[in-house]
């Protein structure tokens, strides 16, 4: 999956909760920390990014809503469940 598409999807999904600016900034930061560059992302990289996003959302909106948000991201990206 293209990195930009992943970033856009995550921003659009969690932005209504934490604001679009923070959603974008935190996703970019996670990508940077995980060493994910431009171009396509592997399944393992996507899983790592979604896990990191999930950990942050877990303490803000709880497990149920976090699972729902991650599922929505996966559905938008048209992929199988990748997060732990």
């Amino acid at each position: 999956v293209e990195r930009d598409r992943v970033l856009r999807t995550i921003e659009e999904t969690i932005g209504p909760f934490i604001g679009h600016h923070m959603a974008k900034a935190s996703t970019q930061l996670h990508c940077q920390k995980l060493g994910i560059g431009e171009g396509a992302m592997s399944a393992a990289q996507l899983r790592a990014v979604l896990d990191a996003i999930g950990r942050g959302m877990f303490v803000l909106v709880g497990k149920e809503k976090t699972t729902e948000l991650l599922r929505r991201i996966e559905m938008t990206l048209g992929i199988e469940e990748v997060h732990a």
């Binding site: 209504p16 934490i18 604001g19 923070m22 950990r55 303490v59 709880g62 809503k65």
Partner: protein
Amino acid sequence: VRVERTIGTLSTAALLILAATFLPLLFSAKLQGLSIWIGATFKLGFLLLAALFATLSCSSFEKSNPVRRAWLLMAAGLWMYWMAQSVLAFYQLALDARAPFPSIADAFFVPATVLLVSSLFSFVRVYKQVGFQIARRGDVSVVVAFAAVLLAAFLVVVGRPVLASDAPVTERLLNVAYPVLDCFLFVPVVLLLRMAMGMRGGSLWKVWTALLAGFLLLAAGDILFAFFTTLGKTGLEPLLDLAFALSYVLIAKAAVTQYGILTAR
């Protein structure tokens, strides 16, 4: 959305009524009786709402969720605040008298403040652990230094004369303890503000700006109360009453909004 809209309207109405009640008292004491009733009712009502919804928010988080403890401490602190405020309201409304200082209310106010400070530090720790940008090392130093300066100014201007006065020991200690605790409260509030400001436009932004503004007003009210009392500026008390009442309204708004977010389908 309905919960958010209802608490939004309710809190805006409360802010206007409270401002209209307390601000005229700065110029005339004629309406004091009515303002005591309105103030006590609003303070108790919104504190009850805050405590109740903080408890509900806490129970909505899973037992394994590290933020549950922070909400638990917050809820416990708010319930204690509500009990303390109930004692004050009993004196004001049932006995038609000024609450003595110290009173049983202080047996609740002191642990309540400790619980709220612990809760906010707990939020800072949890959010930092999961990677939120709470504050850089430099920011922490600036905030701690500011709190230390505030504390030092308080101890020099208020603390020394209060401790040297002839007042009973408990009264002297409490007059110093409250502002000192509020200086501790000030540190996590300012640290969390950075995270909250980054959430602009999101629904959680509403929770955190209301919550932190509420705690800032609470801390400012306590510190100014100590300054005004020591300097004999009793005419400014309505302003402090307004600050306390508004802080409860904002904290209630935050707790209700958080619960709305957690339970929205």
